[in-house]
Symmetry: C2
């Protein structure tokens, strides 16, 4: 293997992914591990990094650029937030406290309504690198879904929704766990859930318990219960995010199942959305950060 | 101690409370334990009952009347649901599978929207026994808050809200746990949270993450964060339950802190509410069930 010119790192709460890169942006090799920031104390980051890609570093110091929760207060070292409106990639990278040459991309913050993102700014930069001149709204589904208004290369404003984490907490830490299996899907139940809270978001508070009560009284199918919960939560998010997406060009980051659910739910509202591969836009964003740094 | 004529049992998910009773409804002695239904398998109920009040039974068989989750599918034995509209106390008690003479009060069910209650029906009966001829709406705050429309001695309809369980799941099993302490209270933050979701329930989905983001960006006080979460959730419940309470006579069951929060939030909407002691109405309901049984 040829020596990488630099290393791209996507270091989130639950995963670490690294790419050995050539200077021109070509991927030499890709690796992943489950050494997410959530598992590591401050002393654990450097060993985790060496364990995954120590051999890439054998021939001397290789610059690395990292994005994600590695830069959170509970991460390796806190990387500041750049305040919107601003371009997604701030040039002010933060050096990790290590002999390794690791630079962390800052997150974005918004004072009012108070909001933060960390990792998604790199995906937004990557989406813009792959779609030059794009204006509109980007939806980044996940534990804490983000909606970002992007114009003229800047993030103008954004909002976070705890949709993914709510789904996990409700389906595993409340009475709904008795009625919601880990797998199974029912599109009609999902669509009905989306429609219910998108048009009547105030129903959310009472609709949740009906999932349990329907099971007790009518023996509702687990797949339908699971899909209905997902639909209710995504419908409530789309209702609250309507000022973002209504009448806008929409991009959804994430080619997997979750991104497709958002595209489906938006489509039912007559709002077509472009879907982009999450890993691809992350890597494109890290490459954009590398280019910005080497040309600075 | 004189021998009880009967024993009243309030057997919920987390607690067991028993009263040794005279035939005229006088309390001879009261005891409690933490042997809630949530901790017990099917074989554990009888030993838990004997452990708490075995000496009350020394002189022979004493009839017992129980309400609560003891009658759930995961409880001692499943007591049916009576379907609303109906009086809160169905005369069709269910015998527990035991040498002890334990009769369990059925819950209430509603086919559409699917809903169930178990334990609250006894509190409603007790409230009506203490307030004869009362018509209006009863709010029973808790893990699964209930709103019941009561008229002419019957429960006409009801709705459940997972407000209490949502508070617990959000504050201990999501990222909000980093910002929400176990104790602390800020009335202004509570009031503002209630007002926000009561008038704009669609904001709930986005307001939750602001609790975390405010802490990260502005170092928000824990007491304010905790009170804001409570306010947002109760405001959303009041918004969804508005068709129940608007313009109605309102009773709130629960004299403790949680009941007072509901009374405060309703008061801010110009809706005065009567507050009743939860234990007192439970006992009054169990006495009503005893009287109904002995006069049947």
């Amino acid at each position: 293997m040829s020596r990488p010119d630099w290393i791209a790192l996507d270091w989130g709460t639950t995963h670490l992914r690294g790419w050995a890169m050539a200077a021109d942006g070509t991927v030499i090799e890709e690796r992943g591990s489950d050494s997410g920031m959530g598992k590591l104390g401050p002393e654990g980051f450097e060993p985790a990094l060496r364990a995954m890609c120590g051999d890439w570093l054998d021939h001397g110091s290789v610059p690395m650029i990292a994005c994600g929760m590695v830069g959170a207060r509970q991460g390796w070292t806190e990387a500041d937030y750049a305040r919107v409106p601003c371009p997604p990639l701030s040039p002010a990278l933060t050096r990790a406290p290590s002999d390794l040459d690791v630079s962390i991309i800052p997150g974005l913050s918004q004072p009012d309504p108070a909001d933060v993102m960390r990792g998604e700014e790199t995906q937004i930069a990557g989406f813009l690198a792959l779609n030059p001149g794009w204006d509109g709204v980007l939806c980044l589904p996940g534990s804490h879904s983000k909606w970002a208004h992007v114009s003229a290369g800047e993030v103008v404003s954004f909002r976070s929704f705890m949709t993914g984490e709510l789904f996990a907490a409700l389906s595993t830490h409340t009475v709904l766990r008795h009625s919601i299996p880990a797998e199974g899907w029912d599109e009609a139940a999902f669509d009905a859930g989306v429609a219910e809270t998108l048009s009547r978001p105030e129903r959310m508070a009472s609709a949740l318990f009906t999932i349990r009560a329907s099971d007790i009284l009518h023996g509702a199918a687990g797949a339908a219960a699971r899909s209905r919960l997902s639909g209710l939560l995504i419908g409530a998010e789309l209702s609250a995010a309507k000022p973002y997406w209504l009448g806008q060009q929409i991009g959804v980051i994430g080619a997997g199942g979750l991104g497709s659910l958002y595209v489906r739910a938006l489509g039912a509202q007559g709002a077509p959305a472009t879907q982009a591969n999450g890993t691809a836009v992350t890597l494109a964003g890290l490459i954009a950060a590398w280019k910005q740094r080497t040309t600075a």
